[in-house]
């Protein structure tokens, strides 16, 4: 049990994932929610890299996938911050519950 293996990393990533989900559910600040998304993406990355390391056979597909996730996350953050600013410009707050103009 002490010597780490794949399961350790997977459990760690699972906790990280749940934390991310919790943050997304509880935070009202749009940027806070963005941080939750980043947590989830990171847990996915940890999984990718861990599988890549412990997978039988050569190659490094997992790392490549993680690399793309990082790139996409960065792009997503840029767009999300821009959206936050637009929301702030229009509503004068970034409380996501206030952005309910499309609410039925």
């Amino acid at each position: 049990m002490f010597i780490v293996g794949l399961t350790h990393y997977l459990i760690l990533a699972a906790v990280l994932f749940c934390c991310g989900v919790f943050v997304m559910m509880t935070k009202r600040n749009a940027i806070g929610i963005l941080m939750g998304v980043e947590l989830v993406l990171n847990s996915v990355n940890v999984n990718f890299v861990a599988f890549d390391r412990y997978r039988p056979g050569g190659g490094f597909d997992g790392q490549i996938a993680a690399l793309f996730v990082i790139v996409l996350a960065a792009a997503e953050a840029a767009v999300a911050v821009a959206i936050c600013m637009n929301v702030y410009k229009n509503l004068n707050t970034i409380d996501v519950d206030r952005g309910d103009a499309l609410h039925g």
Partner: protein
């Protein structure tokens, strides 16, 4: 907590020393042969021999480092859940990302670890903090949700975790027992320009689109 706060410097210095010690012992270590024997320039099509970069990390060291940085990762992730102040949340996120980067290094993904540090910790996080500064009315305005919501969310998260954990522990993964494979940047670059050329190009086009989109959305009215 107040007692803890009073000894912050001691604690932080301890953390600092621990981090340095860990780094010094950590996986980043490679012996390298005499530079004259190394290829002066990585020519395309020529793979660097795998044993040129031999990690010295033994399973014991790897485990110790995993527990340290995995613990730091979890602590900061939980801190992210607890903190109410956005900048503190960003600080927690910074430690989460940093610990994740060290885990990548442990797993032999050096390039990924470095990229994680430079893109996430150095770029995305600054962007987030910047967004916080631009959109905060004042540091003293906070958004809270009701305790009931908090409990419900925690319940959902815990149930989710147990489901995932059960699934993870019961599944038989096809595992290799082999040593960590270090990946060189050259291998990475070659793979990106051959096998993964299409996703690479798609990603670059997407980045361009994102850049234009972000600039458009935050433009001057």
């Amino acid at each position: 907590m107040k007692t803890l706060m009073r000894y912050d410097k001691t604690i932080l210095a301890g953390l600092l020393l621990a981090a340095m010690a860990c780094c010094s012992a950590s996986a980043v270590a490679q012996d390298y042969p005499d530079p004259k024997e190394r290829p002066e320039r990585v020519v395309e099509g020529e793979a660097v021999p795998q044993d040129a970069y031999r990690s010295e990390v033994t399973p014991v060291v790897e485990s110790v480092l995993f527990y340290i940085f995995g613990g730091a990762l979890l602590l900061s992730a939980v801190g992210l859940c607890i903190c109410r102040d956005v900048v503190r949340m960003a600080t927690c996120l910074f430690f989460t990302l940093g610990s994740a980067a060290v885990l990548y290094l442990l797993l032999g993904a050096f390039f990924l670890g470095a990229i994680q540090l430079i893109v996430y910790a150095g770029g995305t996080l600054i962007l987030l903090v910047f967004g916080v500064m631009l959109t905060n009315k004042s540091p003293w305005v906070r958004f809270d949700c009701k305790p009931a919501e908090m409990i419900a969310a925690a319940g959902v998260a815990i149930v989710l975790f147990f489901g995932l954990a059960t699934m993870l522990t019961t599944t038989e993964w096809a595992q290799s027992t082999g040593e960590a494979r270090s990946t060189t940047v050259a291998q990475f670059g070659k793979a990106l320009l051959t096998t993964y050329l299409v996703p690479f190009e798609v990603a670059s086009v997407m980045l361009l689109v994102v850049m234009i989109a972000a600039a458009y959305m935050a433009r001057q009215e």
